[in-house]
Symmetry: C2
Subunit: 543 residues, 2 copies
């Protein structure tokens, strides 16, 4: 396949011999004392920046082996991180070897691995998916796991483990780095920032890989749907987009496609909006468009919405407690269950429960995870919203506030984008992250995340280096305990991408300003093939 | 946008001056006497083939105006048919004008139109959608409509109407051609073969436009899902694909992506399969893969399936009659409704009804169209099948015939593909169809469909001409009456594309042979950008 021939571009600082330039010692973003106490050996490390080494003519180093792990959900470009890492360690020393632990962090613990040879690597260059070694969700957090891992790492003579994952996986990478450093076993741990959700970012990590490609795939199909919508002129499309909590994906897709409506969960929470308020707002847009004769439109919905609606969050929390305390609930019939819930909830939450369409309300009491909690991701928010909007429009019609037809259609996009072949941006960025990780290993770093910055500039000007993971941490409550974790980046309501959206949405709502980005292109002119996400573009000063 | 610069390629026979070469008089595919009687003026016409005219140095002709109509569902490439038509009539005479009737055939009847100038045309070249003039589903079949149309056609001095549509729209185009010819009003009617469903084809019309692009878009996202499936290794994806009746789309996507299972409705009907038999077959594949440790997979489902299952067809027909005869049914509660249905259906249909998951069975008695019929398209076949497969697997587990985990996910793709920007193939094919239609108008043809053939060859070698629409007709029962209609092309179970699939499916089911076609490329090497559909490739002798 022609795509495998693509040679990802590296920052010029990584061409040939490199030296690591140390910056100032760093501090965690918050809770410095606690984080320092938990990470005595990996706290306060300096930032590292790689520069051309004028003293050496060629990149070279001692022989070492590296292990690599894919952790958590798929994201486009994972295979390029691995091929960049492979090429990076081979450039340092031809005898270096790369081992892949299979099906996620569990592969390290259970000693399932494969050596990644050039034959295997070449088959996966520039492809999507994590199928080269598989991924998994086992959390590396217990000393027993670290010890089991140590056995195989020593056996394979591995100097460093590269963990490719999201915020939690990188937090755990740092815990592992700290553990091995405290034990002085000579094994380094390096993280790589992965997640389509786009919520692993900060000043030093400009974006997580995969976000660019996934949002471009979603925007392609959203654009196609909008073109259909604008041709048929008779449907309202409610489109839910994957993303566990933050709304970066929805915001980015809105900036790329200019839909009539896009919900941003962070704004819903900040404004303390109820579900009814959101529904009324959408219904208002539907009515205004209908008044112009436009009985069609598009609505983007972030998957994590429900938990950002304060009233829903409160309802779900009380429901979880209530049903956990009443195992007899399961034995009641549907009508009795509903009555039980309404009688036992607080007044405010009972009102929220009552306001929901019956099917959704029932779903909240049925689909529960093994811990007895509502499985929020199973709620079909796109259908919930369209049903409620339909009901609201009926009321408005009776009140003479709406004249029109409302035919909703529903979509959910997620799995379509996580394993797409990487865009040129992600292909380059991922390859650079992996190649750069090899340099971090070579210079002895541990507890660092591979960092490639300056991303809206041409890739030769990208800045490569390492950022101490502790620098991104703060203390947060998780399952009732305070834990050191990498701060999740939610959509910043004062940030440039959101402001751009907020300044345009009124116009996009009433007029039809759809954009149709089309499929990702690999081979064409740079203005088609090599654009970053709109989020990154606006964040870095684009107008 | 760079894509608008693409210059679609024309067959070399349409470069410069052309002459129409007449073939032998034609016959309809069946029911010759009836069709001839219904179309005395447009029956038996010769095929036309365009060749370079050695006697003329330049394409030229008298001044004329043309009207164009988009009819029915969207298909990628419609804008290129129109731009080809525009360029074609302008090449004949610069003073020629093109009028677009708005929102489908209704625009002709109601005199809603716009003149399509080069400014408008240039904005839409190589774009997806039908939004340039909109489309609609008004059926042109009554003399009053033809007469109303005639008023505006005369007013605008229009010599010919080009109707871009599917089998029904082209049938009606021919009825209109016959009507105007019989009245001798001097207005020609030309059809163009459009539908993503791929069921408007025959010896002379090798494929309908839009099928190529739509199936490539679906295959892109199916491929991405398969890569995800093969990375996560924990889900079975049930993927429904649009297509009103024929399974060409599902078959083409299966050939492009090699899923673990693909249902072909035509085979289900031919083998007289029950829903239970399909479910058992899928469950068998799930169990065999699970025995190898592979608890994941993909299933493609054609949207029209239900009506091809003989037992379901019988059940739905009896339900329609039963409920129409018992208006009191609506007043019963859910349990009573179910009992009523079970007591009043024939034994065989009651058994089918009982075998359905309760939710689906209920849906069959609820969602009815304005004529009181079950709205088959509302049945979520993908969920129906996965639920029944899950139940079947439970039984098999108890019987010791299955060990594994079964977690299904669901998708429906349709609106994502109908308005995609056309692939290079569809961009060229559509442009050629439109340009060719202009030549048919110029040579005085009416009741013809624009035909461009030899499509697996390079576009310069394509054969352009016109096919009498009556040639594709037979008599079929529609709403209780025998009507002349273009024969729909269902999947041919003796044809090469199906045979290719059938010879491979066993292997694709048990092993994981997924292909990941990736997004449509416009700018790259020809082997990436200029492939036809697999269906066309195999039909024309590809191995």
């Amino acid at each position: 396949m022609a795509r495998s021939q693509y040679q990802p571009k590296l920052p010029s600082s990584l061409w040939g011999a490199v030296k690591a330039v140390q910056g100032e010692p760093t501090q965690s973003v918050a809770d410095q004392e606690e984080i320092k106490a938990l990470f005595p050996n990996t706290y306060g490390l300096p930032e590292l920046t790689f520069e051309k080494d004028p003293k050496q003519s060629k990149l070279a180093g001692a022989q070492f082996n590296v292990g690599v792990i894919l952790s958590g959900g798929q994201a486009p470009g994972g295979h390029n991180v691995i091929s960049g890492l492979f090429d990076g360690i081979k450039a340092i020393n031809k005898a270096n070897r790369l081992y892949g632990f299979l099906m996620g962090p569990g592969g390290l613990v259970d000693h399932n691995y494969v050596e990644l040879t050039s034959e295997i690597i070449d088959e996966y260059r520039n492809t999507g998916g994590f199928d080269i070694i598989g991924s998994g969700r086992t959390k590396l957090e217990k000393p027993e796991q670290f010890e089991k891992g140590l056995v195989i790492l020593k056996e394979l003579n591995i100097k460093a483990v590269v963990i490719i994952g999201g915020d939690d996986s990188n937090t755990n990478a740092c815990v592992l780095a700290e553990y091995y450093k405290a034990k002085n076993v000579g094994i380094q741990v390096i993280g790589c920032p992965k997640t389509i959700d786009g919520d692993l970012k900060n000043e030093m990590i400009e974006t997580s890989f995969g976000f660019d490609t996934a949002t471009k795939v979603y925007s392609e199909v959203i654009g196609n749907i909008q073109r259909d919508c604008n041709s048929a002129k008779k449907y309202w499309h409610f489109i839910k987009l994957m993303g566990r909590s933050a709304s970066h994906i929805a915001l980015e897709c809105a900036l790329q496609t200019q839909p009539n409506y896009c919900i941003i969960s962070e704004e819903v929470e900040a404004k303390n909006m109820t579900l009814d308020a959101i529904v009324a707002d959408i219904a208002g847009v539907v009515a205004k468009r209908a008044a112009k004769g436009d009985n069609f439109g598009t609505v983007l919905i972030p998957e994590g919405l429900i938990e950002f609606i304060p009233a829903m969050k409160a309802l779900i929390a009380e429901l979880n407690d209530l049903l956990a305390a009443h195992p007899e609930f399961a034995g009641l019939d549907a009508a009795a269950q509903r009555e039980f819930v309404l009688n036992n909830l607080s007044e405010a939450n009972a009102a929220s429960f009552k306001s929901l369409p019956a099917g959704v309300a029932r779903q909240l009491t049925l689909d529960r995870d093994p811990h007895g909690n509502v499985q929020v991701s199973l709620i079909e928010t796109e259908k919930l919203l369209s049903e409620m909007v339909g009901n609201k429009l009926k009321e408005m019609k009776e009140a003479g506030e709406y004249v029109g037809k409302f035919s909703p259609l529903h979509h959910f996009f997620g799995y379509e984008g996580r394993c797409a072949a990487p865009s040129n941006f992600d292909a380059d960025y991922c390859y650079a992250l992996g190649y750069n990780a090899a340099q971090l290993v070579n210079c002895g770093a541990t507890g660092y995340m591979s960092s490639v910055r300056n991303l809206t500039k041409p890739s030769v000007q990208w800045i490569a280096g390492g950022i101490p993971i502790t620098m991104m941490m703060n203390m947060e409550r998780r399952n009732g305990e305070m834990k050191p974790v990498i701060q999740k980046a939610l959509v910043d309501l004062d940030g440039k991408p959101f402001n751009k959206f907020a300044s345009k949405r009124e116009e996009w709502a009433l007029n039809t300003c759809y954009l149709y980005p089309g499929p990702i292109q690999y081979f064409g002119p740079a203005e088609v093939c090599d654009q970053t996400s709109r989020t990154l573009y606006y964040e870095q000063g684009g107008k």
